[in-house]
Each structure stands twice: as C-alpha cells, then as structure tokens.
C-alpha cells in the first residue's frame, strides 16, 4: 500500500512538471498566420510518444489472480510502467500514397522488461491509389474498422477486437486489398459506396485471424438514405464462418444521435470447459446486436449509452464452471504442487474466456463534461461497463486535460465490482490507477523550425 502511495505521489509530480513546462512554453508564444504553415509537402513524419505508469491493487481471492500468480507472491500491489512510440509516415506522389503507422511498446512490470513482437509493430502499412475522387484502392496492412458502436462493434468482422475500456486506441490491421467506389445522388439516397476486400489468410500472413490457407472476401455497402447511415456488411471464405451484418446511425436532433448494429454469424464454434475440466465444442448460429445513443445536454454533458448482446458469449453458468475449475486447480496446486489443471484452464483462457466481453449482455455508459467551471480543454468523465448476466461491473472516473499544445494528460482510476464467480469480481485486480502522458509531434515541422532557427542565427 505504501509503495502504491509513493508511486501515486510520483505520478502527480510528473504531471505537475509537464503542466509547469507547458505554462512556461505558452507564456512565451505569440500568434500569427504564417503561410508556411499551410504549405503542403509530399511527405509527412509524425506520431506520439506516451508514458503510462499504472498501479494495480490485486485481489488474491479472485480466480484470475490464482491462475496468473499461483507460482509467485507479488504483494498487494503491482506496478507497470509502459512507454509507447507511435510513428507514422507517408509519401505522396501523383495518385499514389504510401503510408506506414508503427507502434513500439516497451513495458516494465513485475515480469521485467517486455516489448511487443516485431511482426506486430507495424499497425498499418499500405499503398493507396486514387485514380479519381470516386474510386480508390488500398494494398497492404490496413485497419478496416466497421460498425457504428462506440465501445462494441459486433459487425467489425475484419478487424481485431476493440478494448471497450479504451475504444479510441488504434488497432493493428490485417494485410488485405480493398477498394472504395463512391457515388453521390440528389434525393433521399444521397450517397452510395461499395468497399470490396480480399483478405488472404496463410502461414505468416494474417494467420492469427482464423483457419489458414484460405482466401477470404469481405465487403461493405454504405447508403446515406433519408439522412441515415446504413451499412450492409459480409465476410465469407473459410478462415472464419460466414457472417453478415447491418448497422445504422442517425441524428434525431442537433444534440441526439442513435445507432445500432446486428450481426448474424453462421456456425459459430464455442469451446466450453466444465467444472471437471471437460472441454466440449458446440456449433450454433449466433446473433449479436447493439443499440446505442449519444446525447449532448445544453450544459455540455455528453452521454454515450450502449446495450450490447453478444450472441457468441458464455452464459453465467458456463462462466461459473470456468471459475470453479480454476479454483479447483488452485486447490490442487496448493495441496500437491500439481499445476496441470491450472495449465488446462490457461489453455482455454486465451482468446476465449479471456477475451474482452466474454459473456452475453452488457451495458456501457460514458458521461463526460466538457470544460466544467470554464476550464478550457478539461474533460472529466466517468465510464461504466456492466455485465447484466452476473450484475458485476467496472467503473472508471477520469480527468483529461489537453490545454498544452500537443500534450495530452489523462488520469484514470478503475474499480472492479462483483461477487464470487462474476466476470469483474474474478478479475485479478480490484482497483487500477493510471496516468497517461502523451506528446504528439510533427517531425517535418520540427525540422523546418530548427532549420529556420539556424538560418536566423547565421544571419
């Protein structure tokens, strides 16, 4: 606890230093509209650097704590210090543009130093060709994030799962070839666009997507019809079972938006472990859907509310069996030092019980207040994700400040609340506090500024 307190103090000192630095930097600035600021260059290099210390308060009675820490004692709290460098660069010539976004993650935790695998560092890397404003092609690693939901996207068939705890984080893409054809009209149908995607899954090429040695085809038809966005989405080809979906989004008034998604997944496979450790697989047709709204009050409070039905998820009973099996494995380990059951439980956790939103019914609510007390660029928010099947939930208050140009400071706490054999109650930690400090940069502008300063000094 004491260790946690000191880290907390350190987090605040770091935040304070950034704010002080920002204030000094700004006090010296003056504004002008220099035409060089709008000059277009064919290349761009930029991105952000991030520092993110986190403290976790562990729950030693939780099943997932037992699964992860059965061989070690890390005390009541663990710390994690992560650094991230997101670099992006592009080069444009004529109708062609080359774009790369790389993500370098470095983490120091109770397990020592760690970094992301080199093959996962490139989040996006593609060549795009745009013969006209109506037609474009993209070849290479790309993120195709489909769906209208904020925290959940059941129709995002060709992207990696979003983290509902931080839905705005960039996601790693898959290697694919895609095209966009757009047509505008006058009348109730204002826009139509079609996005066909060819999606190969072979050894060392998208092999974490599904069954290998398959060429998959996905597609999206978009309509702006009667001021409503509508997408029809599909995926076929064999790496995953066939799936189809529809989504919509519409503004009801200038401060009220509604959206929804529906996905039908053919022959979904579910791997379930019972209390005794027997693993069974079942196949069924799953239906997932989402309904949501975004509402802005006259006093600038934004509500984002979503109900998510995960048709591929586990029932409360199936989840209880999984937790019971872990507890049984832990008891066996304590009694005889035998971790075979825990290893078996670990094998069904990854990408299955351990994936985000593993159960059936969820509510998501985020309430954010823009600039309270006239503090410009300050946005406090509170977010909750509730599992309706077992009544467990997590609640995360946060403070975001973006007042210093290119700096973003976010302090976020999370409490996980739930009883025995519930999703959030059995997570390895009870609380989490993190500070995220980001600095965005434009390397080309920085270089130009430096060049200008040198030239000025030489004069």
């Amino acid at each position: 606890m004491k260790r946690g307190f000191f880290l907390w103090v350190r987090l605040w000192i770091i935040a304070g230093l950034f704010i002080l630095w920002g204030s000094i930097a700004f006090a010296e600035e003056e504004y002008k509209f220099d035409i060089s600021e709008i000059e277009k260059k064919p290349y761009h290099i930029g991105g952000y650097a991030e520092f993110r210390p986190v403290i976790f308060w562990l729950d030693s009675n939780a099943s997932l704590y037992k699964l992860r820490f059965y061989k070690r004692d890390e005390g009541n709290t663990i710390e994690e210090h992560s650094g991230k460098l997101q670099l992006e660069g592009s080069y444009e010539k004529g109708i062609a543009r080359l774009f790369v976004r790389a993500d370098l993650d470095l983490k120091y935790s109770y397990l020592g130093w760690d970094h992301n695998e080199s093959k996962r560092m490139i989040h996006e890397g593609y060549l795009s060709i745009k013969p006209s404003d109506s037609l474009s092609f993209k070849f290479g690693k790309q993120t195709l994030l489909w769906g209208k939901g904020y925290a959940f996207n059941p129709v995002a068939f060709v992207s990696r799962p979003k983290d509902p705890d931080d839905p705005e984080l960039s996601l790693e893409g898959f290697v694919a070839a895609s095209a966009d054809y757009i047509k505008s009209f006058n009348g109730p149908l204002k826009t139509f666009s079609i996005t066909p995607v060819v999606f190969p899954v072979y050894k060392r090429l998208n092999d974490d997507f599904g069954t290998v040695n398959r060429l998959n085809f996905a597609g999206k038809l978009y309509f702006l019809l009667y001021d409503t966005d509508i997408d029809l989405i599909g995926l076929t080809g064999g790496s995953k079972t066939n799936r189809f979906g529809i989504d919509f989004s519409r503004n009801i008034t200038s401060n009220f938006e509604i959206h929804g998604e529906f996905a039908f997944i053919n022959h979904q496979t579910k791997k379930v472990i019972d209390k005794q450790g027997k693993i069974t697989e079942s196949k069924f047709d799953a239906k997932s859907y989402l309904l949501g709204l975004r509402y802005l009050t006259p006093w600038d409070t934004t509500f984002i509310f979503e109900y998510y039905r995960n048709g591929t998820g586990f029932t409360h009973l199936e989840m209880k069996d999984y937790f019971t099996f872990i507890d049984k494995g832990y008891d066996l380990f304590l009694a005889r030092g035998n971790d075979s059951l825990l290893k078996k439980a670990t094998s069904v956790t990854q990408g299955n019980y351990g994936r985000p939103n593993p159960m059936r019914d969820y509510l998501y609510l985020r309430v954010s207040q823009k600039e309270p007390f006239n503090i410009l660029y300050f946005t406090p928010a509170i977010t909750t994700i509730m599992n309706l099947n077992d009544r467990s939930f997590q609640i995360s208050p946060e403070l975001l400040y973006t007042g210093f140009t290119n700096w973003e400071l976010r302090l976020k706490g999370t409490a996980l609340v739930g009883g025995k054999e519930t999703e959030f109650g059995e997570k390895q930690n009870d609380y989490r506090v993190e500070l995220r400090v980001r600095y965005y940069f434009d390397a080309v502008k920085a270089f130009d500024w430096l060049k200008g300063k040198i030239a000025q000094n030489n004069r």
């Binding site: 204030s23 700004f26 006090a27 504004y31 509209f33 035409i35 600021e37 709008i38 930029g46 952000y48 745009k130 404003d133 109506s134 474009s136 993120t143 994030l145 489909w146 769906g147 209208k148 904020y150 839905p167 705005e168 984080l169 960039s170 966009d180 757009i182 047509k183 505008s184 204002k190 826009t191 666009s193 996005t195 978009y222 702006l224 001021d227 966005d229 989004s249 519409r250 503004n251 008034t253 200038s254 401060n255 938006e257 975004r294 802005l296 934004t302 823009k370 600039e371 006239n374 410009l376 660029y377 973006t402 007042g403 140009t405 290119n406 700096w407 973003e408 965005y440 434009d442 502008k445």
Partner: protein, 242 residues
C-alpha cells in the same frame, strides 16, 4: 389632405427596408462572404483570460448550400482529423480511431467558444429565414430564425454594412433569446478573384467569460468539387484535395 398625402409618401419611403427582399439580402451577404464552392485555410486561436493561446490550422472545402468539410493541419495532436457536414448530418473522422462517427452540431471538436456548426458553417440563407430587416445607421440589422430544430442557433441577429453587404457583427441566441456568442467581423481584405471580405472573425461568449476565439482566413479561392468528396467514405482522403 396635403399633409396626409405627405405622411403616406413618407411612410412608403420608410418601408423600403422591408421592401428589400430580406432573403435576397441574406443570399447576397452569403455570396459576398464566400463563393458558393470554395477552398480556404483558416487559423483558429483560442485565447484564455490569462493570455494563453492554443492554435489550430484548418483546410476547408465547400460545395453548394449544404456540403462542407474541414481538415485539421495543425497542431500535431489534431493533424488528420476531419469533419464533414452534409445538410444536417455531421461526422468526425479521427485517424487513430479509423472510422468516421456521427457528431452533433453543438459539440465542440476543438474546445472553447467555437462549436462544430461554426467550423462547418453553411450559407446563412440555407439554414435561416429572414424574419425582419431593420436599418441601423450605416448598417442593416437582419433578424434570422432557424428553418429547422437541427440548426445550432435558433435565432441570429446579423448586422451588415449597407454598402459592402458584409456582416460586421452576429449575435447567436437560443429560442428563449439567451445570448450564446457574438461574432465580430474585422479587417476586410482582398483575397483575389473578386473575393473581398473580412479576414478576421473574433468571438466571445457570456458562457465563457474572459475567453475569446479568433478565426483568421487565408487563401480563399473559388473551386469546384465532385459531390463524392463530401461523403463519409471520402473523409480519410480530404488531404488529397490540397
């Protein structure tokens, strides 16, 4: 009898403000501000009471009465963000998030006094009906009323220079008449191509006491675009129009 006739003639002379087609005048003000289809660059500066400033640079394109898009060029934290408006529909694209999301016109993408509707301003005549035109010295005072509930400000009072037919001041109000913000149009400048208009708009708001926001305009040019540019699918490509 003679006096009555003189009074009637005087009354007829006094009405011409009403006789001036209010809608026509508003359209003329719109056209004097911008060509119907254009590209332009803007710098937005938010100034805090202690003098601290935060600046944003935007590239904007517009076509017809209801299509407008804006792309953030600086600062680095906002670079690549784009906003699109197609009539009452409004979307925001954030490169990291990777997909456009619908937003509401009253939200603010940048914080401060300006909201999305200010950044993606359509022609006033497209969104407002002229209720009344008054003469106020060397200026016209136009009382505007929103055509639909989806417009950001229900009522607008617009002061326009009689000779130049350009706005000098605009008050944005709620349905109940509460003042939300005031825009001051300053420094009329020749941008070339026959475009002569204020190059600076200053804004303050009783809701943000002591704060102000400033728009500085540059490189306004008439330019035609295909309708397909103003679509949700095109949003990640707006940079290619520069």
């Amino acid at each position: 009898m003679k006096k009555i006739l003189i009074c009637l003639v005087a009354l007829l002379v006094a009405v011409p403000v009403h006789a001036i087609e209010g809608a026509q005048l508003l359209k003329q003000i719109d056209r004097n501000l911008n060509p119907e289809s254009y590209e332009m660059y803007r710098k937005l500066i938010n100034v805090e009471p202690d003098g601290r400033k935060k600046e944003y640079t935007l590239f904007s394109v517009k076509k017809g009465v209801d299509k407008v898009a804006a792309l953030f060029l600086t600062p680095a934290s906002e670079k690549g963000r784009s906003t699109l408006r197609l009539g009452d529909n409004m979307w925001l694209y954030i490169p990291n998030v990777g997909k456009p999301v619908r937003i509401t016109s009253l939200q603010s993408v940048v914080g401060g006094v300006f909201n999305n509707a200010d950044i993606l301003q359509l022609d006033y005549a497209a969104e407002y009906d002229v209720e009344k035109v008054e003469e106020a010295g060397k200026e016209y005072l136009l009382h505007l009323k929103a055509k639909t509930k989806t417009v950001a400000y229900d009522k607008i009072k617009l002061w326009a220079d009689k000779d130049k037919k350009l706005p000098t001041k605009i008050e944005c109000r709620t349905e109940a008449g509460m003042l939300i913000k005031t825009l001051y149009f300053k420094e009329v400048k020749d941008f070339g191509g026959g475009i002569v208009r204020p190059s600076v708009i200053e804004t303050d708001s009783p809701l943000y006491k002591g704060y102000k926001s400033i728009f500085i305009f540059a490189n306004i040019k008439q330019r035609d675009f295909k309708d397909e540019v103003f679509t949700l699918t095109f949003m990640p490509n707006i940079e290619s129009l520069r």
